[in-house]
Symmetry: C3
C-alpha cells in the first residue's frame, strides 16, 4: 500500500488527522513498531521530518543512507527493502533518485512503503503539507489561484502538487522559461495553464509556490543565471502584483538571491518555515494512516 | 570477553536463548545500558540487525561510522574504543576491515566487545544465525551434509561458519575454483573436503551455502566472470542435484544472475530472508549473553 | 542564548550541576524535548558525548551531518538551523568549521544553540569539562600553574581554555615554537606568558595540557616533524620536570609518539579518559542549563 493515488476524500481525512496530531506531545500509537528510513539521496528536511514524526509516534527508527549501505555492494533495491523488512521494519520510508522506486518497493512488500520523493517524479508528503499549510490560511482550495514559478520540469514537488491542487479544485498557473516549464507540463493535470511572464502570472495570485532552481541545471540548459533571476526571481516589487494577502511558499532549501530575495523569504507573507513546521504533523498522519491500513504481518 | 571460541554447549545455549527472544516484543533487559556500534566498514544488514537487537532490548545505541570518526584524524583503534567506552558505552559492537581488530579491542577493555565482522577473518554472529536458521528446519547439525560454494578464501562468513558447523558436527564440503577455494581452506577445520565441480559437490547436499562473489575480485584473480557463472552459479537445474529438501542459504547481499539466479533466491527452498529475520533474535541473544557475562564496571 | 561569555559564578554553578548529574542513571528532565545535533565537521567524541548526554536526559535526538545535508544544495547555515528548529528542535548543538557560526545561529533563533566547536575559535564544552576534571583533583583553579603545549594558534580548545582558566584564576603558560604559539597568543587572556623551551615551561607545572598537532599543518608551516617531536613531545623524562602530582590532560584524539608517548598517555598521571568520562555529565549540565534558561517557545 502507498499513499499515492488518494481520492479527494482520503486526502481530506488525512489532512484532518494531521490537524489532530501534535508534534509537541507523545502519541505512542506506533510504540514497538519499527520505521526504517531509506535515503538514497541526501535530504535534511524530509529525513528529519519523517524521523521526528516516527519518533513522536513512539516508533523505533533505523536510518539507512545510500553511501553506507549495501547498495555499494551491488544489491538491488528490491533485495535491500526485502532485507530491511525481514530485519523487522514495519514500514519503510524511501527517498530514491529513480522515479517509481517507492512504488516498485511497495508492490513487493506487504508492509507500508511511504514515498519521501522519487527522482523527478513525486513527493507526496510535501504536496500534502503544502495543502495543509494553505488550508491553515484559506477556507478551501476550490477555485484558489495558485502560481508555481521556476523549474517545473525537474521538480517532483511541482508534479505532485499539481495533481493534488487540481484534485482539490485549485486553479494552477505555471510560470517559467520554456526550458523549465515546457508546454507539456500543462498536461500533468487538467486546467493547468502556462504563462511565460512572471508579472502576468502573478496578477491576482492567492498562493505563490516558488521552486528551487539549481545553477548547474541552468548551465546545462544554456540558460543565463542573471537572465533567469531578472525574469523569475520573487522580489518585493513583484510580490505586490499578486493579491495583497497572497501566500508565499517554497519547499526549501531556498537559495536567497536566486529564486527569491531574503526580504520576501523572511517577510510577513512567507509561509516557508510554517511549511517545515507542518511537515512533521502531516507525516505523523501519513505514517499513522499507512500503518493502520497495513495488513497484519504474516509469519514471524 | 568475546563470543568467539565458544564451546558447543555455549553455542547451544546461546541458540536456545535466541529462540526465547522475540524481536516483536520489548525485552527491556538492557534498559539504561549503552551499546555503541563502531562500523569501520559499510554494512546495512549487520548494522541494522545489531541496532534493532540492541534497541529491542531497551538499550540506547550510538553509531560511529568510520568516515565521520576520529579515525580520519589518525587516532588508533584502541584509543577510539577506549574513548567510546569512557563516554559511557556498556558494550561495543565492532566491524573492522582488519582481522583481529575486535579481539584486540576486547583485550584492552573491561566491557563486552562483539565482533560484527573483521577483515577476511570471522563473522561470528552470521555463523550463529546461520546455525540457528538451519536448526529451524533440521533436528541437528550432526552429520548434516553442508556445501559451501564460492569465494571461500576471502569470506569471513565461510571461515567462521566452517568452525561452527564442524563444532556442531556437520560434514562440510567446499566448492569453487582453486583461486577462491585453495587447498589450504580444507585445513580451516577438521574433516572439511574440497570438490571442484559444483555438480559433484551438490550431490546429496542438505544445505547449500552460497557466498557472495565480487566481480572486481574475479578480475584481480584473472578469472573470467562468465566462466565462473557457468561453473558455479546456483540455478534451478543445479539445485535439483542436491537433496530434494535441501536448504539454500546466502549471507547477503546477493547479486542475482551472478552467484545465484533470482528463481532460486526467491524459490521455496531459499532461506535468505529467514536468515535476515533470525539475525535480530540471534543478536539479541548475543548481546544479552555478552552483557550478562560482563564483569560489573569498576569506577564510574 | 549561548553558554559563552559566562561569569565565573555561572561557570561554578554549571560545574556544580555537572557533579549532580549521573550519566549511569536516567534524568528524564528533557523527556519529550528534541535536541538536534548539527555536525558540519566530523567529531566522534564530541558528537557521541552530546548525543549520550541528551539521551540520558530523556531527549529525542536527531543528527544532521554536513555531508548528507542540504548544505550540499547551497542552503545557508541560518536557513538550515531555522529549518531544523521549525521541524521541532528545542535545542541545537552545532559544530562548524567557521568561527562564530554557533553565535550567529544563536542570534537568529529563540531556542538554545550550544557551541560544540567552531573553527579555530572556541570549544566551550571542552573547556568546561577540562575545568571540571581538574577540580576533581585540585581544590581550586586559583593560582594553579597550568602549561599548555603545542599548536595553540590553531586550537579552539586552547582558546576557550585560556579564557576559562584565566577567569577561574589559573596562571597559564603557553609553550611551542613561534609558528604554533606566536607572541600574539599571550594576549588572548590577561597574565598569560609564553615560554619556548618545554623543559623551562614544565618546571613547577601542576597541570599539563597537551594539544593535538597535525602533521599536515607542520608541513605547511615548514616545521620538521622530528624536530617538533624532539622539542615538544611529552615523554616520561620531561614529565619528571613538572610537579610530582602534575596532571596530564589532552582533549583527544591523541596521536601516540607524536605529541605524547604512550607511556605518559596511559600513565598514572594521565586524565585523558577521565576527561572523556566527565564530558557526558558536563554536557548534561550544559544542556539542562541551556534549556532551563530558554524562553518558552512562541507559537506552535
Amino acid at each position: 500500500m502507498g499513499i499515492e493515488h488518494l481520492s479527494p476524500e482520503a486526502i481530506t481525512s488525512l489532512l484532518k488527522l494531521a490537524k489532530r496530531m501534535d508534534p509537541r506531545r507523545a502519541h505512542p500509537t506506533l510504540r514497538g513498531r519499527i520505521v526504517a528510513l531509506l535515503f538514497y539521496e541526501p535530504s535534511t528536511r524530509t529525513r528529519i521530518s519523517f524521523e521526528l514524526a516516527a519518533k513522536t509516534l513512539g516508533a523505533t527508527t533505523v536510518l539507512v543512507a545510500a553511501e553506507s549501505s549495501s547498495v555499494s555492494k551491488g544489491e538491488s533495491l528490491l533485495d535491500t527493502v526485502a532485507t530491511v523488512r525481514a530485519a523487522g521494519a514495519d514500514a519503510i520510508v524511501i527517498r530514491h533518485p529513480a522515479s517509481g522506486a517507492p512504488l516498485l518497493a511497495a508492490r513487493h512488500l506487504n508492509i507500508p512503503v511511504v514515498n519521501a520523493g522519487d527522482g523527478m517524479h513525486e513527493h507526496p508528503s510535501q504536496a500534502l503539507l503544502d495543502a495543509y499549510t494553505i488550508l491553515q490560511h484559506k477556507k478551501s482550495l476550490r477555485g484558489l489561484r495558485v502560481v508555481m514559478v521556476g523549474d517545473i520540469a525537474h521538480s517532483r514537488v511541482a508534479r505532485y502538487n499539481l495533481h493534488l491542487l487540481t484534485k482539490l479544485g485549485a486553479q494552477t498557473t505555471l510560470c517559467g522559461p520554456p526550458e523549465l516549464a515546457p508546454e507539456v507540463c500543462a498536461t500533468i493535470a487538467p486546467g493547468v495553464r502556462i504563462v511565460r511572464h512572471m508579472e502576468e502570472a502573478l496578477h491576482g495570485a492567492e498562493v505563490i509556490m516558488m521552486l528551487r532552481v539549481q545553477k548547474e541545471r541552468l548551465g546545462g540548459l544554456q540558460l543565463n543565471v542573471d537572465d533567469y533571476v531578472s525574469a523569475y526571481q520573487l522580489n518585493a516589487e513583484r510580490l505586490k502584483l499578486a493579491r495583497r494577502d497572497a501566500l508565499v511558499m517554497h519547499p526549501g532549501p531556498i537559495i536567497r538571491r536566486m529564486e527569491i530575495t531574503g526580504e520576501v523569504a523572511d517577510g510577513p507573507q512567507s509561509l516557508i518555515l510554517e511549511q517545515v513546521r507542518n511537515g512533521v504533523r502531516v507525516r505523523m498522519a501519513i505514517l499513522t494512516t499507512a500503518m493502520a491500513a497495513a495488513r497484519p504481518r504474516k509469519g514471524q
